[in-house]
Every structure is written in structure tokens, then in C-alpha cells.
């Protein structure tokens, strides 16, 4: 992969033909695994992430909390998900992302209904083309709902970037690698709350503000697609 000369052409289109505020084609499916209590497969363009939820189940004693359920989250990339094979042992990046993703889900799960239990959330990146943690958050949100875990709201994620001095949504890998900024955001629009934000790169204060604004608009749409996907899954179950 090499750095492109320009990221946005004279017509204002990005390398893959998208407008700056346009997300890649999104696909969502729930109930894709038989063993898990809830599961989801989410794709933004070529990025594909599978999430599964197990629980609530009795907690290991050492981590058990007397007043709430514990969340356990693992973000992991499959060895074949990247350009060059990725060593399957968890990297420092995966350890950090597991933490921030757990912290992005803690505010929406109603954990005090299930003291002394744990809810396990596994996020497996099957194919990576930028934005894997935000697609992972969307998949985890759907899998939690599919598992019937009580939640205050659904979350979805999207990354905002900056290329050629323009803010863009939903970076693909080239835009992520060679762009000037990458700001992943996860939010629950129904609560008006942002549950994850990180910034990798340089932005002015104004750009930072606009980036969050931009993300919220897209996340709104993504959560609508999540709701539609869940509704359809119940419709199908009813027909069977």
C-alpha cells in the first residue's frame, strides 16, 4: 500500500467514490451463531466483524461483584484479517481496544439486574479495512440485544478522519493509514451520550467539535439500521 497523491478529487469524491460524509455500504445480521446467547455479523464495506454474547452466567468468584454483573470483553483480530498474517496472540493494541470497547458498553447494559454474574462479549475481526473497533462496537450492541440482555439503549460506532484538510466519515484502511487524523467514536443517540472517543492525529478545537457532530449524525442512522435488523429477526422468528 502506498500513500495516494490526493484523497479527494476535484469533484469532492474520495478514492472509493464516496462523499466526505458518506459511510460505506453497511450490512447487519443477528443470530448468526447457534451456541451463543446472542450474535451479530456487521460489515462496513470490506470490514467484517463478528460478535457473540454469552450470559449472564455465574461469575468466577475472583471477579464477582456483589451489586452488578461484570462485563468481560475481548476484541481480537483473526490472523487472516489483515494484509500480512497477524500473530493470533493478543497485542498491546488489542488489550487497549478490549478495554475501551468494554468501557463503551458499560453505560448501556443494565448490569444491576444480575449481581454476581458475568456477561461475556467476544468481538472477532474477520476482515480489516479500517474502523474495526467501531464496527466491533456496533456488532457488540446488536449481539447484546439479540441475547435479550436488558439495555438502556443501543450504541453504534464510526470513525471520523481528516484527509486533504477535509473531515470524512468511516475511514477505510488507506485513509486511516495515510490520513492526518483518526477519531473513533461510539455513541448511544437515544441517550445523547458518547461512550467512546479516541483521537489519533492532530485536530483544531473546532475540527474536534465538528468531528463529533458529524459522527453523531451517522451513528443515528446506524442505530436505526440496528433497530430494523432486530425487528426483522423477530418477524422471521414469528413466521417460522
Amino acid at each position: 500500500m502506498t500513500r495516494p497523491q490526493r484523497f479527494i478529487d476535484d469533484e469532492g469524491k474520495r478514492l472509493d467514490g464516496r462523499k466526505p460524509d458518506e459511510i460505506r455500504p453497511v450490512k447487519m445480521q443477528v443470530g448468526v451463531l447457534s451456541n451463543a446467547d446472542g450474535s451479530a455479523l456487521v460489515e462496513y464495506g470490506l470490514t467484517k466483524v463478528l460478535a457473540a454474547v454469552y450470559g449472564p452466567k455465574e461469575s468466577q468468584k475472583s471477579i464477582s461483584l456483589p451489586d452488578r454483573a461484570s462485563l468481560r470483553v475481548r476484541y481480537h483480530m483473526a490472523p487472516f484479517s489483515t494484509e500480512e498474517r497477524k500473530n493470533p496472540a493478543p497485542s498491546r493494541r488489542e488489550v487497549e481496544l478490549s478495554k475501551v470497547l468494554r468501557e463503551s458498553l458499560e453505560p448501556i447494559v443494565i448490569t444491576d439486574y444480575f449481581p454476581r454474574t458475568s456477561i461475556d462479549i467476544f468481538i472477532e475481526v474477520l476482515q480489516s479495512d479500517g474502523g474495526t473497533r467501531t464496527v466491533g462496537a456496533t456488532a457488540a450492541s446488536l449481539a447484546l440485544a439479540d441475547a435479550g440482555i436488558p439495555m438502556k439503549a443501543l450504541v453504534a460506532g464510526v470513525a471520523i478522519g481528516k484527509v486533504d484538510n477535509v473531515l470524512i466519515v468511516d475511514l477505510n484502511e488507506v485513509e486511516d493509514m495515510y490520513g492526518d487524523a483518526d477519531m473513533p467514536i461510539v455513541a448511544a443517540p437515544d441517550l445523547g451520550q458518547i461512550t467512546l472517543y479516541q483521537l489519533n492525529g492532530v485536530l483544531s478545537k473546532e475540527e474536534f467539535h465538528n468531528a463529533i457532530d458529524m459522527a453523531m449524525k451517522v451513528i443515528n442512522k446506524l442505530v436505526d439500521i440496528e433497530k430494523e435488523t432486530l425487528r426483522n429477526s423477530y418477524k422471521e422468528a414469528g413466521e417460522e
Binding site: 498491546r92 487497549e96 458475568s118 451520550q193 458518547i194 472517543y197 467539535h209
Partner: protein
């Protein structure tokens, strides 16, 4: 796998209501206002065997930074750049909450946020760290050692990192006939080339209050924390929400404003500490 913290300190949680009563009156338990950091001391060159070192005290929190510079091989995709590696150790002597063992998610997150906030604005001039392009470059190992933990490890660590980087000296070396780079025990007078100074500002959100530089009790009762990194021009060069809760858009806007003012306070203290360092050096001669 990341698990909801289970070693929860109960006492500060019981005290939360009394803390909130103070906040309603615009006060904090240690008599600071909401937007002021604690007392800070920055010492540099505290160790002789490291190429650079510093000890930062932020209230009762103490962080030591040590820099070792060694020859090494560049990364495949950046043959004409040196290497910067940031690691953080939450040393068990610093807190009953820290356990011995390999780095946990908290120390990895701390090191990676500091690393990104230095790397993305190109704070360290990695291009100046080449010995033989594509073959030998300088590797800067920046190790952050948490010695005493009373909250806000990010800001103390970044101040320690900056103070050590700005006062570090490159090793003296010779190129052997075999092509090997041999570093001598002497340390040269050449500094590391630094393009930009960076500080981070941590704020805690406790209900609807935003507190700059939270101490440990404030961190424990907080809903969530934000770490925002700034350069001296006021650009945001890194950011991270850390902790379980969430924030509204208005709260984030407010945090950015409050943090950008606090960043100026940190920059002033950092620059003052470096000035007195230069004076001392001159005084010695």
C-alpha cells in the same frame, strides 16, 4: 480479555455525597477550584546512567521517567526514521491496587496514549535519529515508572516524558570496521531533536461537575475521565475517554475548553522547570 474492575475501593464511594456537597458550593476537598491542577514539581537529570530522566510530583502522585538510547534496526516501512518506544510500569510499591506481573490493560493504555500523543504531532524528530539509513538508527526507550499513585497518571506521565526527552543527551559512539555501532559510557552533549512540546490534561466527570487533575478519591467517585493532549499552539494532538461512563456533546465541548486553559498552566510549569535546569548547568561551569 477486559473485565469490569473488581478491586473497588469502597471508602471514597461512601464519601461521595460529602464530596458532592462541596462541589455544589464550588469547592474541592483539597481546597482547589475545579479547574486548577495540584502543586507540581518537575526535576530533571535525576539519574546518571540514563540518557535522560525526570521525576514529576503532581500532588502526591509521583512518576519517574527514564530514557535509554541504543542503536537498533529501523522498522521495515520507515527505513529513514529512528524508533520511539513508550512503556509504563505501574510498580507495586506505588499502590495496594497495583499487582506485580506483566503490564495490565491500565499500564498498556497509559503508555499507548502517551505514545500516540507524542507520535502523531511528530513531537520527537525521528528523522534526525538515523545512523545509516535502512540499517542502523537510534532507538529511544522511554520508560514511565509510577512510584506513588494518587490519581491522574496521564498528566504526570506526560510531564515526566517531556521533561526527560527535552533534557536527554544522545550517547557517544563509534562505528567499528565490522559496521557495528559501539556506544561508549560517555554521554554526549547533543540533545534529542524535539519538534514540539505536548502536555495532556485529564478531567474527571463527577455527576455534572468537571474537575481538572483529579486525585485518587476523585477518580474513584467519577463517572468517567477524559484525557486531551495539546501542543503549545492549542491544537488537540490526542484524546481518549477512559473509564466506564459516558459524556454528552456539550460536556465534551466544555471539557475541551477547560482542558485547553489548564494545558497552558502545565506548559508554563514545564518551561520554568527547563529554564532553571539550564541555569543550573551554567552555574556548574
Amino acid at each position: 480479555m477486559s473485565t469490569t474492575p473488581f478491586r473497588v475501593q469502597i471508602i471514597p464511594k461512601i464519601k461521595k455525597e460529602s464530596y458532592l456537597n462541596l462541589y455544589r458550593k464550588g469547592q474541592r476537598a483539597d481546597e482547589r477550584d475545579f479547574y486548577s491542577p495540584r502543586k507540581i514539581s518537575i526535576q530533571t537529570n535525576v539519574l546518571e546512567k540514563a540518557n535522560g530522566s525526570s521525576l514529576v510530583k503532581l500532588g502526591n502522585t509521583q512518576v519517574m521517567a527514564g530514557i535509554k538510547i541504543e542503536p537498533g534496526e529501523p522498522f521495515f516501512d520507515t527505513p529513514d526514521q529512528g524508533v520511539l518506544q513508550v512503556h509504563a510500569e505501574l510498580v507495586p510499591l506505588a499502590s495496594p491496587q497495583f499487582e506485580p506481573g506483566p503490564p495490565d490493560e491500565n499500564s498498556i493504555e497509559l503508555a499507548r496514549v502517551i505514545d500516540r500523543s507524542l507520535r502523531d504531532p511528530k513531537a520527537v524528530d525521528l528523522n534526525s535519529l538515523v545512523i545509516r539509513p535502512g540499517d542502523k538508527v537510534w532507538m529511544i526507550w522511554l520508560d514511565l515508572y509510577i512510584l506513588d499513585y494518587d490519581g491522574n497518571l496521564f498528566d504526570a506521565s506526560m510531564l515526566a516524558a517531556m521533561a526527560a526527552l527535552l533534557t536527554a543527551k544522545m550517547p557517544e559512539y563509534e562505528e567499528l570496521e565490522t559496521g557495528e555501532i559501539k556506544i561508549s559510557k560517555n554521554i554526549s552533549n547533543n540533545p534529542i531533536k524535539i519538534n514540539k512540546k505536548v502536555v495532556t490534561v485529564t478531567t474527571a466527570k463527577v455527576e455534572n461537575y468537571i474537575l481538572v487533575d483529579p486525585n485518587l478519591d476523585e477518580e474513584i467517585i467519577s463517572d468517567t475521565k477524559s484525557v486531551i493532549a495539546f501542543d503549545e499552539q492549542g491544537n488537540i494532538v490526542g484524546a481518549q475517554k477512559t473509564g466506564m461512563g459516558s459524556l454528552s456533546q456539550e460536556e465534551i465541548d466544555n471539557i475541551i475548553n477547560v482542558s485547553s486553559s489548564a494545558a497552558q498552566v502545565y506548559f508554563k510549569l514545564l518551561n520554568d522547570a527547563l529554564k532553571s535546569e539550564v541555569k543550573e548547568e551554567k552555574g556548574d561551569k
